[in-house]
């Protein structure tokens, strides 16, 4: 089975695609959490 992100090419900033993909999710998760947290804290205040 070949999954979409389980590949080496195209490489992004020199990194294998699969690794860059996961870094992308880490950054995206942080962004979503930060926005949620900001809104939720405003509500709690």
């Amino acid at each position: 089975m070949k999954l979409f992100a389980a590949r080496v090419e195209p490489r992004i900033l020199g990194l294998p695609f699969a690794l860059a993909w996961m870094i992308g999710w880490t950054v995206a998760t942080f962004a979503v959490l930060a926005v949620y947290h900001t809104l939720a804290e405003r509500e709690r205040a």
Binding site: L3, L15, P16, L19, T26, F30, L33, H37
Partner: protein, 494 residues
């Protein structure tokens, strides 16, 4: 001045700085368990950030993650994958636990569970499982520290003496300052590890391959398929997607309930601090990236270390880098070992005394006596771990596989305790016992499992089934405090 002396001086200066920061925290705590274990529930944002980040990551990250990248290729991306979501549940769990801690005076996870159900034996079971997991884990940290000392002194100081030396320092600052010693040294150690990992992760591929891009290009050419997930298993055979995926899921499920991490919910000064710690956590998590890159840098290196998790020190000390960089690296590796080791030792001692002796065996102690007892057990735990590390050597990793896995089985108990009205002590206890038993069985005999997935999956399935069925079939005991308990968990405080 010879190169070896420079390496030693830097690492020695670092150990000295750790000791200083550890024994002189800016603030004094009360002479009680609450002060020693939970820092009087007054830790602020910066220390909380580093205490959670460094506690979780250090041990495994600095040596283990590069080891995975080096020996298992694309499988190592799993470490990044579970770290993304692993701490997120704590956004909700942490503040609920903190409210309960403030209200009822908890400083450990197990006493919280035991208190709700009026079932002190549950604390005993959880304490036992935790200590069995922590001693080999600590032993591994001591072995790691010893190896670094041996490598940087070119064998002049043998590994066993090195481990003793480094953990003597750890023992001193944890004894003196409790969780504040752990917190402040973890801040120093965290800053150090973060900058070092990024610095080395960019420098070493440049030096060895002329950049990160060319490095991966060559690996992809010479080892086709190696960089693609799911990568390889520990024996070098192809890993499977079910194993990869289930390992990610189990690691996420267990992440927040590791006792030494969970109990930090009781140390934060406010719910807001706790939530912000969770939100900021991915910024710490990103430091796995340079560590993976460093592991990959070892793939095409001319020589190979004895064990995969020695790849990073092996490459650094054999790649002809400047002694200053080698010295900084050695100090960073010691920081990695120490910042997990101190939290583990501190948690093991606190749990043994609070959950084992006081809660389960019902031997109350006064505040001062409790603090003294925890210090005594702390020495015993470090000595026990040192003996294990000195005797077992190679097989500690195997021991850990059986010992550390069952901790994940705390998760259903914690969620039920904090959220599920209908849960009973009998249900939680039955789930815990069955989950741990199934987990150990399939870790020991994987061929008995119907499908090749992570053994924790079977453990959790049995655990949740038993917890739900037994809870529904039993009624709360007279000592049960669920109503008051859940009301306190729902009541927000700033």
């Amino acid at each position: 001045v010879s190169d070896g002396t420079i390496v030693l001086l830097i690492a020695g200066a670092y150990l000295g700085a750790s000791l200083l920061v550890g024994v002189l925290p800016g603030r004094k705590t009360s002479d009680s368990a609450e002060g020693f274990v939970a820092g009087d529930r007054a830790l602020g944002g910066v220390v909380m950030y580093f205490i959670t980040g460094a506690t979780i990551f250090s041990a495994f990250a600095f040596l283990g993650a590069p080891g995975w990248a080096y020996s298992r290729g694309g499988a190592s991306i799993y470490i990044l994958a579970y770290g993304i979501l692993g701490f997120v549940p704590f956004y909700v769990l942490g503040p609920r636990a903190a409210r309960l801690g403030k209200r009822f005076g908890f400083v450990t996870q197990a006493e919280m569970v035991a208190h709700r159900f009026g079932a002190s034996w549950i604390a005993g079971v959880m304490a036992l499982v935790s200590i069995i997991a922590f001693v080999p884990y600590l032993a591994l940290q001591i072995t790691g520290a010893g190896y670094v000392v041996e490598a940087m002194t070119s064998g002049a100081v043998p590994s066993k003496v090195g481990g003793l030396l480094v953990y003597g320092v750890v023992l001193l600052y944890v004894m003196k300052s409790g969780v504040l010693g752990v917190g402040w040294t973890n801040t120093l150690q965290g800053v150090f590890m973060l900058s070092l990992a990024w610095g080395l992760g960019l420098y070493l591929p440049e030096k060895l391959y002329g950049g990160i891009g060319p490095m991966f290009e060559r690996i992809a050419e010479e080892r086709p398929g190696f960089l693609e997930p799911p990568g390889l298993d520990a024996s070098g055979a192809p890993w499977t997607w079910p194993m990869y995926t289930s390992s990610v899921l189990i690691s996420i499920a267990g992440f927040s309930v590791f006792p030494h991490l969970f109990m930090k919910a009781f140390s934060a000064k406010s719910e807001r601090t706790l939530r912000r710690t969770v939100v900021l956590y991915p910024t710490f998590q990103l430091f796995v990236v340079p560590l993976l890159i460093l592991g990959f840098a070892g793939v095409l290196f001319a020589s190979a270390p004895e064990r995969p998790d020695q790849i990073l020190p092996h490459v650094i000390l054999n790649a002809g880098v400047s002694p200053i960089i080698a010295g900084l690296f050695c100090a960073g590796a010691l920081a990695a070992s120490m910042s997990s080791g101190d939290a583990i030792a501190h948690a093991a001692a606190s749990i043994a005394v609070r959950d084992g002796w006081i809660t389960a065996l019902k031997r109350p102690l006064d505040a001062h006596g409790e603090r003294r007892a925890i210090r005594g057990v702390l020495v015993a735990v470090v000595i026990a771990a040192y003996v294990v590390s000195a005797i077992y050597e190679g097989s500690v990793v195997k021991l850990l596989l059986f010992a550390y896995g069952p901790i994940v089985q705390f998760a259903p108990a914690i969620y039920a305790t904090l959220f599920w009205r209908r849960a009973t002590g009998a249900g939680v206890g039955a789930g815990l016992a069955l989950g741990v038993a199934v987990n150990v069985l399939f870790a020991w005999q994987p061929s008995l499992a119907p499908f090749a997935v992570h053994e924790g999956v079977y453990g959790l399935a049995a655990n949740v089934a038993a917890l739900v069925l037994v809870s529904l079939a039993t009624r709360a005991r007279a000592e049960d405090r669920s109503t008051e308990f859940l009301a306190a968990a729902d009541e927000p405080s700033p």
